[in-house]
Symmetry: C2
Subunit: 344 residues, 2 copies
DNA sequence: TTGTAAGCGTTATCAC
DNA sequence: GTGATAACGCTTACAA
């Protein structure tokens, strides 16, 4: 019907009130007589009026958009995490604006462009963007939450998984199961998570290694995906010194390995080799794999990330927070839960 | 340094030009002397100036945001598709604002809220939103692209997969392989894609069915996921009349079925049963499954969807378009490519 | 090519 | 509780 979209002035005219009264009617905190608000709402309804967010943003100097910076969405864990983030952001009345920075030359430049949108905040879940870009946001008054990216920042809030704890947990599980010849596999390209996971793994093992009873090797595969796991199996299973416990920094790599292993060693032999993955993606629980793994709760991180952002919006000047979300060992068939522990 | 974010006026002051000259300098279509533009850019750089999108949107009456309406992101095909959409939207200088409408009571109401953002367009990939909501967008001048949702709309542009073609293709492959006792499995809850896939499957089979040589049964499983496929295997493989060809409307269901089948029938027996999935998600090519399937190119649909939107933005009044993206049969080990066809 | 000035549709600050 | 009125930062005629 109406050529142009209705504005608050149109509503005001129809309701027979001033434009500012219309504005107030849509603000729950404004005290307005019930009758007036009622009349305004009816007029608004009739005209199909919707607040113009651009105008609102201009005056409030803040939109209700939250930037979600991601990369590598082909990794199911990341994509699951993004999904959870989207839900969480929505649930608190904000709008997720997603930015994928995979394979981008000019990441920092493009990210800089987000400043134009007067975002309520930015949640950075990719390792790619430089440190500087976070600072640029903060300089423009846009809160930044760094997820699983770094140990420390004196400006941005931090939410991490307990990556190191995950590594330790895997190492502990192997030791408790009496495994002595251990391998830890991560992608060649170092990511914050994988490096910390390996670190935790080796740290836990350190005292055992010196006793010479246990040894541990770090193996690098090409990438963090199924195919790399498939390939790396040759290297691991045909070595002279076959391991009896393998920790993969990502479930996907572990699954590739498991499929590949079926060609290389007998089921019987394979059953003697403990395998632990990391993330607990959906695939890990499929019967074809039934992978023992360290569960990272994507919902928990998402919840914590958004909560952190909301806290920051409430108290913009408080000191940056930092938290690590705990992880959990899920026993499945690739490493059975030991009946009794071998160590105390 | 500067307390407040720099505006074009600040830049103008520093560059010694008028505010409108600054504005023009950032518009590639404006003709401005090289020297002036240079001077403006330097001043902008120095002040860390960024265009304020809210102000820009207000005057242009259109933001560069595109609404991506999704649901069921736990389905890997959907999540992969969303990923591709995000990339495509980014690549044409627009910004994806994602809205997940899964498990939402008040979908239409919430979607209505998107009107507030002066979106450049909305791409609806979920079946949940009602027809009306699309009309509401269009009434407000926001172009709508419907993806895999419906056969017809006289206002919105449509991009579909060739779902019916996919079903036909599967049926044809079975017939060519000499399979005669066929089953088609879809999720209990009807979705546009699965219903059309089944329709295509049965349509192609119709002439053979009447000859009584071939028969086909439709089986419903609980949901469109791995577990439902796992469960449905019992029903299918323990029936008196075991099928020799099964078409699953989603790869995920097929994979669950395949894992479950390993418990129920011997590998030898299983090798006589042809299985075809649909979508060609990453999982389908894993060695554990190596599933013959109908590939739907998520990149292609994403590309087509965004292209459709851009076309619409260029010519707002042209008649709504409709296209179907072709699909492709990928032979893997669950149904081998026949050497010669049995029919002409 | 550049400057001046008039909006765009809200919210916020005053009066009343 | 309500109504004027002044921003907010940009684009775009219109003038020069």
């Amino acid at each position: 019907m109406n050529k142009h979209t209705a504005t608050s002035a149109d509503v005001a005219a129809l309701a027979g009130v001033s434009q500012s009264t219309v504005s107030r009617s849509f603000d729950p905190n404004s005290r307005i007589s019930v009758a007036t608000r009622q009349r305004v709402f009816e007029a608004a309804e009739q005209l199909g009026y919707q607040i113009n967010k651009a105008a609102q943003t201009m005056i409030k100097k803040r939109s209700d958009l939250v930037g979600l910076v991601t990369a590598g969405l082909e990794d199911p864990f990341r994509s699951e995490f993004l999904h959870k983030l989207i839900i969480e952001v929505q649930n608190c009345g904000l709008r997720p604006m997603v930015m994928d920075v995979s394979d981008r030359e000019t990441i920092d430049e493009e990210l800089h462009g987000l400043i134009q949108y007067q975002l309520s905040g930015v949640i950075i879940t990719s390792g790619t963007p430089s440190e500087n870009i976070g600072k640029a946001f903060i300089r423009h008054g846009i809160p930044v939450v760094l997820v699983n990216r770094t140990e420390h920042s004196d400006e941005a809030d931090i939410v991490n998984l307990d990556n190191e704890g995950a590594g330790e947990m895997a190492a502990k599980a192997f030791i408790e199961s009496g495994k002595t010849n251990l391998v830890v596999v991560r992608s060649k390209k170092p990511s914050f998570s994988s490096v910390m996971r390996v670190k935790g793994f080796l740290n836990y093992l350190a005292p055992f290694l010196s006793g010479d009873k246990v040894n541990a090797t770090e193996v690098l595969c090409d990438a963090g995906n199924y195919d790399s796991g498939y390939q790396i199996a040759d290297k691991i299973l045909t070595s002279q010194h076959k391991p009896d416990g393998i920790f993969f920094c990502m479930d996907h790599i572990a699954c590739g390995f498991l499929d590949s292993a079926k060609r290389l060693v007998s089921p019987n032999e394979m059953s003697a080799i403990g395998v632990i993955g990391c993330d607990d993606i959906a695939l890990a629980s499929f019967r074809a794999y039934d992978l023992t793994t360290i569960r990272q709760s994507s919902s928990e991180i998402a919840r914590a990330s958004v909560e952190t952002l909301l806290n920051r919006l409430q108290s913009p000047t408080s000191a940056p927070s930092k938290q690590a979300i705990p992880v959990e060992l899920v026993y499945r068939s690739t490493l059975a839960k030991p009946q009794r522990t071998n160590i105390e």
